[in-house]
Subunit: 297 residues, 4 copies
């Protein structure tokens, strides 16, 4: 089917390719002339036959908001907008309302898979009405991995449910990565272990902990066995923060997701003010000398 | 090749079957007459041609220790004992020494895979000398999943390394399970989400969080969508405790593994003494009435 | 000086008493006829000589908001409103603006001390302009504990700073209570310890951990040595949740405050959905029987 | 009364002074000639009239063990040895047995107070028989803070109970320090707060969080408002590690103590291997470029 696609960055660019390979007609827009198919969003609207379907794949936050606001002007009644970016699910209701005032439908779509999605397909979690989701299904079916639809796609609920599910996905992702990281650190610290990479590699089949992330870590360790080229400094993209915030709203205890989020915050600190305070306290009650009979008191 | 196998419980019974299907001659011993091949460990030793290889697959702790002590008497110089149970790696050196005094070699083998191992193969992490490991390789090759040896088997280092790697595997396993559990709890708590099972199912392909455990949780939720039949009461088998203890020894921070371990402890408490103390404190400084203007101040 | 005081619950009632003992003229309003001095907020405004100072001590949220909106109508230019409740600091700017449109000044005051404040004085953290804070200083000086002003009162910054400091105070309070709770639980679990109460009591002087909360726990344990009459079910009043949310905004890792908050959430669950998922997973990969050779592997 | 005191470091030196001020006759031994009263432990034994009481105040571990072994030889039946160092409580039984073979009694004494103990007195937690504890009570009464004995001293139980209580004290201490540290970090991060020191100072009276550590942190911040001169690098003395290990043995969940211990481990790492693994994983699935539309998805 025909699709407009706004945002041809790392994710959008690959998605356009996968969709075209799947036989869809994609008109892409991006501010960078070297990748765009049309000069403006207006031109994109003109290039599509009504009723249109337009997929937005731009950074979450103001850019997504502005893009949807523009689409509210450029599109027409009966069109459908899909926000495939990492918007906070609380934005979805606002966007749906903005568009519905013009008679335009809205779906939120959480998209997982990163740079591997082009080849393997993207995990999709979408929110919206049954009719709207059904309408975009040919697109979803091409983007998602082959096989049973239920194994790579979910219509998670009404508008907002897709991004909520994707947010939780990313919160879980944070915690899984920390779990594998802690395991790696223990293997690397224990001198009995000849090669942590070989252990991670061996977990690929038959074990309880086998997973895509486990295999990626084995791969990363093969490329750089001591991870010498990689700093622990780690950004967070928002979903982890949102997950903990929503957990608080829902009164759900999430110690492992929160610990993973805080570990990222810590990774970006030169020194920990908390630990400076702890060290200051020890200094106050234990005296200045480093070695003493009763260290902490 | 020929192998003695002591312990025909859930794990050992299936391993005997997999080994026999792989063409090995297995003589199994178990105290339960209905499953054992020989009446005693002594009879098992007699039934095997020297030099023998005997795999011990019994509960960790005293039973493993006693079994190995018995083997030290019943076996002969040149034989090889493999401890495939979940022994703490610190036991391995003692067992190796006990056996080496009789000229008997020792390998520690961490075995993962649970009830699925019979069909899919067991992930194996072993510790010992190169020569000993090479000698038992036909057994390992049959037990491990098919495919590249490195993807389901690792010779992790000298004696102790196998059980250490398996211990870390289980520590990581604890944390992974908690991560998926927290994700499930959030999905179940959010009314936008129609069906948490469908979300977990959809994570099977294309997503960053796809894994064997993710698929098992999707399967469990399919069987019991609200997990209504399952209590949160969760035992821990030792490896999680040992992982945190070893992390402390190695000065490795493991917040997510420790949180997972503590969550298991908490799951087995009727009420939390810590929280009783917290409630008592709030009562002391905030007064007895439940509703008040300044609740905790 | 003269003061209007709205809200005569547990906190406000005692504050009126302490202020009157300190020589101030307090006109109190509360919807409950048995405690109020005047029938309405309008009557309270009339009873005070301009320029008025009115202290609001009502539950945070809509009631505080409505009370301040009412005061914006009933008070006059030059008056001063102090919000002494547990409002979220992000509300303070809105309230200040609402009042400043009528020429009314605003101070936010975090008040700590609970039921003990009447006798010992209240710890005060306030936000506002220098002039406004100076104007209300006679009130603050009576409410705060005797001694150096700096040891029980802080002008923490502009509007919002008082409630922010109080919010952090409560976040720290959560973590301190958990710390003492964990210590109690360990003492109670170890059979060598004859009487946990006696240990807590002995920490009252000379130790590093001595504190008001430590003494309160010793007192609570004296009244109920096994805390048998107290459930671990623990509410949270908002400040703990806000602290973690603000920590996320500020990218400050707060593992111990977050753990304390999550422990409260857990205390209110009959069973943990996270742990039900963990138990379901163990059941999936480990089989149904409770006892098995390789429990979790 | 007469007392032998072995170990005149920061703690022992001050204790000798406090005991002498309290009217006791103290014979001190230390390998450093400038502080010792006698040249050898043998000379110390000779200088005391039987039945002797000897207090050992040396670093925990081998030095304590060797000192007690020496005393087993140098002392006589009916003497009493008190281990006032930070020995792990599991050592106490061994030391008691070693000494009892010579008819020498043993008390373990946990001592808190650090450099402030000289002036304010030391918090004491002791383990041993009623008779032995009674015998040493004049010493305890001088060392402990003045006032009710129960407010600064506890006979916590049989041999081992004193060090166990002190270990828990230090575990709680870790968590309290982290709590105050997190609060400080939040205040320092929020621009509304003019001066975190002033807030901490103001918590000294009337608040729920007031404590000795709170006052020490206020003092430390007065000396160095940004803690600019203090690194977050923080040692741990053993009790924190032991507390978590014993918690695991007792199946007591201690998330806040464990988090505090792990924060110390982290403070001593140049970079976190766990976070290097997390960063490596993000790099694997998200691509190399730092900025991208879908960052972690």
């Amino acid at each position: 089917m025909q699709l407009g696609l706004i945002g041809l960055g790392k994710m959008g660019f690959n998605m356009r390719e996968r969709l075209r390979e799947g036989g869809h007609e994609v008109v892409g827009f991006d501010p960078r002339p070297e990748v765009t198919d049309v000069p403006t969003i207006g031109a994109l609207a003109e290039a599509l036959a009504a009723p249109r379907v337009v997929w937005v794949m731009v950074p979450s936050g103001p850019i997504t908001h502005d893009t949807i606001a523009t689409l509210a002007n450029e599109l027409s009644e009966g069109d459908l907008v899909i926000d495939g970016g990492n918007s906070r699910y609380t934005e979805d209701g606002l966007h749906a309302k903005l568009l519905s005032e013009k008679g335009i439908a809205f779906i939120d779509a959480g998209v997982s898979g990163g740079v591997w999605g082009l080849k393997e397909g993207y995990g999709l979690m979408v929110g919206g009405s049954d009719a709207d989701v059904e309408r975009a299904m040919p697109i979803f079916d091409t983007l998602r991995p082959p096989g049973d639809r239920a194994d790579g796609f979910v219509h998670a609920g009404p508008v907002g449910a897709g991004h909520f599910a994707k947010m939780v996905h990313n919160g879980v992702e944070y915690a899984l990565m920390t779990a594998y990281g802690e395991g790696y650190e223990m293997l690397a610290a224990e001198e009995l272990i000849t090669d942590p990479q070989a252990v991670y590699q061996a977990w690929s089949n038959g074990t309880v902990v086998r997973s895509w992330l486990q295999q990626l870590l084995a791969k990363a360790l093969k490329e750089d066995p001591q991870l010498a080229e990689i700093s622990g400094y780690t950004e967070d993209s928002g979903e982890g923060r949102w997950t903990v915030e929503e957990a608080i709203r829902l009164r759900v205890p999430v110690p492992s997701i929160a610990a993973s989020l805080f570990a990222r915050f810590s990774s970006r600190q030169e020194d920990s003010p908390t630990m400076k305070a702890v060290a200051a306290l020890r200094n106050q009650f234990g005296g200045h000398a480093v070695k003493r009979i009763s260290e902490s008191g």
